[in-house]
């Protein structure tokens, strides 16, 4: 009889614990993303001018690369990564500093680094690093004490401070969501959370009052707060909602969205990609995409529940919080219930950094699932 409680988990057998639903859902959503990016960027195809395929090809390649990155992350494993977390964290801070010094400015935010022909956004990869760092720090004991919470806050505050200087409001909010979700799961006490909440509000008001934020960002936030205050900033919001409404129940049909084809919604291949989905595939398509993402989140949440160590649990909680917030913010912004801040829809929006980050983080979650019995084996 084989002892069922203590099976022999050698490395090759680890593959037996691979969660197939996780990569399946991930690749499905990413493929939808590739199609939608193509729809958003192909332009009006005419006999003289065929449809533009540059973005399609690039996004497809990046998705392929993302799958590889996801596999690599899962294979390398979150535990082996544990040792390198301080190093990775410091490296991230270094990159953030480099962005501020030699970064490329796009639409008012200095958020990109250029290496040869490759341009990437360190703050995107920083999300995974923050998840790892907080998970490593908060995993040290249940119900973290006040000093531990303070250090955790500082761990999150350092990258956030550097991103505010870029400035990139959307990414800051994602970092905040990651930190909040992980703090909640890590068992930070209610009163500590309350104090953190107060600090957050104070900080937000401070940021709005200071010159850190660009005028257009403040304006976009204020559009949400006081409706119809600024026609230019309101324009994005209006066009996005018209596009979504125009989709109706079943949509205009793929590549048939008039708002999309007229390029009336700005940033429609990145932050506003959901408007293209909603216009062309309607409520049915939009809900289906949200359903797939919901299943993916459910899977991640489930893996967190099944994790055999605090580190793995917190990684799952961090990735869950990150993706949940990004989806909520991205769709919420397009549908007009959230302020307009540039946050990509995970796996769907055009953009390599975001895509790879998402794949890597899901790879880490896979690792948590794959290795959920190692702890027992070692014990």
């Amino acid at each position: 009889m084989v002892d069922l409680r203590r099976p022999d988990y050698d490395r090759p057998r680890m593959l037996r614990h691979v969660d197939l639903a996780l990569p399946l859902l991930t690749v499905m959503v990413a493929l939808i993303g590739v199609v939608m990016v193509y729809s958003a960027t192909r332009g009006p195809a005419t006999e003289i001018r065929p449809a533009e395929t540059f973005h399609l090809v690039r996004q497809a390649r990046l998705a392929g690369l993302g799958v590889l990155a996801m596999v690599a992350a899962g294979w390398f494993g979150h535990r082996r990564l544990h040792r390198f977390v301080p190093l990775v964290y410091l490296g991230m801070l270094g990159l953030f500093g480099a962005v501020l010094l030699v970064g490329t400015e796009v639409k008012g935010a200095r958020a990109w680094l250029q290496f040869g022909g490759i341009q990437f956004q360190p703050s995107e990869f920083g999300k995974v690093v923050l998840i790892l760092a907080l998970a490593a720090w908060l995993a040290r004991g249940d119900e973290p004490s006040a000093p531990r919470v303070v250090v955790a806050v500082l761990l999150a505050a350092a990258p956030v401070g550097l991103i505010i200087l870029q400035p990139d409001l959307g990414t800051v909010l994602v970092y905040g969501a990651i930190a909040a979700g992980m703090a909640l799961v890590a068992g930070v006490k209610g009163r500590h959370l309350f104090i953190l909440g107060l600090l957050l509000v104070t900080g937000l008001v401070g940021v709005l009052q200071s010159d850190v934020l660009e005028e257009y960002q403040v304006r976009r936030l204020l559009v949400f707060v006081a409706d119809e205050s600024d026609t230019r900033a309101n324009y994005n919001l209006e066009q996005a909602q018209v596009a979504i409404g125009n989709g109706g129940l079943t949509g205009r049909g793929l590549f048939q969205g008039t708002q999309n084809n007229s390029a009336l919604v700005p940033e429609q291949q990145t932050d506003f990609i959901f408007t293209v989905v909603a216009e062309e595939t309607g409520f049915v398509g939009g809900a289906a995409l949200l359903g797939l993402v919901g299943l993916l989140l459910l899977r991640i949440w489930r893996i967190g529940q099944m994790a055999d160590d605090r580190f793995g649990l917190l990684i799952s909680a961090g990735v869950f919080s990150m993706l949940l917030f990004q989806v909520f913010q991205s769709v919420g912004m397009a549908t007009g219930i959230m302020p307009i801040t540039g946050i990509p829809f995970p796996l769907v929006s055009y953009g390599g950094s975001s895509l790879l980050t998402t794949f890597v983080s899901i790879g880490l979650v896979q690792s948590v699932h794959m290795r959920r019995h190692e702890h027992l084996a070692r014990a």
Binding site: V242, G247, T258, S262, F283, W301, L324, T335
Partner: protein, 755 residues
């Protein structure tokens, strides 16, 4: 894992679930509940209605030749919004504008940086408008700025329709210019049904362009396009297109050939007059009379049969092409500066001049019809009477004729005496004394109405607007005791005199004093006499014709009034006026029978011409030279008036001018007016033709290398070996051109040899 962690994970799941519920609900609301509304917005959202300007009607001459058409031009515009988005600093902006100005200048049109700045500040343009900076820029700029949108934000080169003046600056005052409608006009002008005005629409500002604005203006069409968020056109909706309706064409009564002849002759005469040395004043020996500045003049030709204006010229003139895209401020200042003799002022209808002796016709009319002849001291009309050259008013009594009290003695020009003067000869030789006596007699003899002269003049239309269909016409002035008093009461500072004396009536009788007429009035008055007394309102436009050929409006002869004319009076005056040109003692005899004063040997035996010279004195200035004429005498087809300011005697300046014009008109030898493009082509071809001529003559060893193949592409002058030059698609035959030039030199040589 402990239970606490699992519990807290569940909290996270609840948060996530509620977020998805919110998103789903919102999506349902937008896509299912309010979808209809969004779909409507989406449809209208992506289309923009663009107004398609209707072409303005053309202006044609009496023979259907196009004087004013429309053409496409390239316009450089700057978009204010895009410029403001670029957030350039003051220096950066100035640098960019300077660079733009340099490029515009390099492409061939001239613009200053200050003009660009001023154009950008034009308050009539909105924030999102493309403000025109320069018109008629080179097409190479289209490429230049099109390739550099980052360096020149908001700069575009586009095509626009503007007025095309096919004969250059011909009939400038009559045609008038078009310009952007301003706020005041936008509010005050009531457009005809269906033809609305929008800010910056081009409307007529003067001449027939202004008077016939409603006809010339078309109905704008519309184009519906689908645009993206950058406003860039993606697709045009042909199904929603509404074609513009072009404005109606005007057919003028003007004959382009005659107009060209008249303008050329007027200009030439004025430059000759300026060159003439001031003569010693015969009235004031020892004093040099003021110089002949000849700042300006006007010629009007009417058809006495129906009141049509055949030609109307005013000098100095200006180039209507300056108005394209709006006059530059400095141009505008130059054109309206009195020091430049006001080129925009249409002297033919706005200039008011003392008519001088041309007025005697109307004094004679008054005298004849009021029964002045043979009453009191006035001899009968046919009685011969010696004019001593000077006249002392009878009211002054018995005074020393050589030293009379002031205001008692009136003289002929140069105090010239005439023997055997009757009514006929008084006109032929232009005896002032003859009319002084009539003027005095009418005023002092209670049998005659005091204002008989003015009333007669008024019946011919003097002192009244003629009713021509041109804007800003002046009415002139006929002084009477009543209106002098009235003017004094209304404005004692400007008009200190209020009384009326015999002397006033005496000088009024010869068209001096305060009498003022416009050239058109005088021409119309002579036309009225010429046709037997029918006073027409002059027409410049005979028909308004829609683009499809249907006549919208037609202007026949418009009879204003009829002058009662006694046949006895009429034949005597005709006799007297024809003597002016035909009788050896006639004041215009030399102008019509010799080339001494620049006149010609006029074929009077075939075409009798009745005329009257006038030399009006203007205080402190040289005399105004006038000549009014009509012919052929028995069945007049043309009535002409020439008035030249500060140019000297009517007999020496205005009369020869009229003689030269009428000779060609009656002989039918008026040359065809050259199109501006042809004039340009000929001047551009001349140097090449001379080269070709030399080459063909074989006197040089040069090769015919003037044929530059590169200039063929630019439309520049291009010569081939057969002696044909092509300039912008116009062929110039060098043989003809060189012959013409040589003929000019031969003429010169002959006249030089002949003395």
């Amino acid at each position: 894992m402990n239970e606490a962690s699992r519990y807290r994970m569940r909290l996270l799941a609840i948060i996530g679930l509620s977020m998805f519920v919110v998103l789903g609900a919102r999506l349902w609301y937008l896509q299912v509940m309010t979808s209809e509304q969004a779909a409507v917005t989406a449809r209208s959202n992506i289309t923009r209605v663009i107004s398609v300007p209707a072409p303005r009607g053309r202006i044609l001459d009496v023979k259907g030749r196009t004087l004013v058409g429309n053409r496409l031009t390239t316009v450089l515009t700057m978009n204010r919004y895009e410029l403001s988005q670029a957030e350039l600093g003051g220096d950066e902006l100035l640098d960019m504008l300077t660079e733009i100005a340099i490029e515009i200048n390099r492409s061939g049109s001239l613009v200053k940086v200050v003009n660009v700045q001023r154009a950008l500040e034009d308050p009539s343009y909105g924030l999102y408008d493309d403000v025109p900076i320069a018109h008629d820029v080179g097409e190479d700029l289209l490429v230049f700025f099109g390739e550099r949108p980052e360096r020149f934000p908001g700069v575009r080169v586009a095509e626009a329709t503007v007025r095309s003046y096919l004969y250059g600056n011909l009939a400038t005052h009559l045609l008038g210019w078009v310009g952007s409608i301003n706020d005041r006009e936008l509010q005050s002008r009531r457009p005809p049904v269906g033809k609305e005005y929008r800010l910056r629409d081009q409307i007529g500002k003067s001449g027939v362009e202004l008077m016939f604005e409603d006809d010339l203006r078309g109905v704008a069409g519309r184009k519906v396009v689908e645009v993206d968020r950058l406003g860039e056109i993606q697709r045009e909706r042909d199904d929603l297109y509404l074609a513009p309706i072009p404005g109606a064409d005007l057919v003028l009564s003007i004959d382009v050939d005659v107009q060209f002849l008249v303008e050329t002759e007027l200009e030439r005469t004025i430059y000759r007059a300026r060159a003439a040395a001031p003569e010693a004043d015969p009235d004031r020996p020892g004093q040099v009379s003021p110089a002949f500045d000849a700042p300006g003049g006007a010629v009007v030709i009417l058809d006495p049969r129906n009141g049509d204006v055949v030609a109307m010229a005013s000098f100095p003139s200006y180039d209507l092409n300056m108005s394209i895209g709006g006059f530059a401020p400095e141009q505008w200042a130059v054109l309206n500066d009195p020091a430049n003799d006001l080129p925009m002022f249409n002297r033919a209808i706005q200039g008011e001049y003392a008519p001088g002796s041309t007025f005697k016709l109307f004094t004679a009319h008054a005298a004849w019809h009021e029964g002045v002849f043979g009453v009191g001291a006035i001899p009968r009309a046919d009685e011969l009477w010696d004019d001593p050259g000077a006249y002392i008013l009878r009211g002054c009594g018995d005074v020393d004729p050589r030293d009379p009290p002031p205001g008692c003695r009136y003289r002929n020009a140069g105090e010239k005496p005439y023997e055997d003067v009757d009514l006929i000869r008084s006109l032929t030789v232009s005896s002032d004394v003859y009319y002084y006596r009539i003027g005095e007699s009418i005023y002092i003899n209670p049998e005659h109405p005091d204002t008989a002269i003015q009333d007669a003049a008024r019946s011919y239309g003097l002192g009244l607007e003629t009713g021509i269909t041109l804007p800003f016409e002046q009415d002139g002035y006929l002084p009477t005791p009543a209106n002098r008093r009235q003017r004094n009461e209304e404005n004692p500072v400007a008009f200190p005199e209020w009384g009326w004396s015999t002397g006033d009536n005496v000088i009024t009788a010869i068209g001096q004093g305060e009498v003022l007429v416009t050239p058109l009035q005088l021409a119309n008055a002579f036309a009225t006499f010429a046709n037997g007394g029918v006073r027409h309102a002059p027409n410049v436009v005979t028909r308004v014709v829609a683009r499809d050929g249907t006549v919208v409006r037609q202007f026949g002869p418009r009879v204003l009034s009829e002058v009662e004319m006694d046949p006895g009076f009429r034949w005597r005056v005709l006799e007297g006026l024809s003597g002016v040109t035909a009788d050896e003692e006639g004041t215009a005899y030399k102008a019509f029978n010799s080339t001494v004063t620049g006149g010609i040997k006029f074929p009077l035996e075939r075409f009798q011409v009745g005329g009257k010279t006038g030399t009006a004195e203007v205080r402190g200035k040289a005399d105004t030279s006038l000549f009014a004429a009509f012919g052929p005498l028995r069945e007049p087809t043309h009535a002409v008036v020439a008035i030249l300011e500060e140019a000297g005697f009517g007999s020496r300046v205005a009369a020869p001018l009229v003689a030269r014009i009428l000779e060609q008109v009656f002989e039918g030898t008026v040359p065809e007016a050259p199109l501006a493009a042809v004039r340009y082509a000929r001047s551009a071809a001349l140097p090449l033709c001379l080269e070709w001529y030399e080459w063909r003559s074989g006197n040089t060893l040069d090769r015919l290398d003037a044929a530059d193949p590169s200039s063929a592409e630019t439309g520049g002058p291009e010569l081939d070996a057969s002696g044909t030059v092509r300039v912008r698609g116009i062929r110039v035959d060098c043989d003809d051109l060189v012959d013409e030039v040589l003929a000019v030199f031969e003429d010169r040589a002959e006249t030089g040899a002949g003395g």
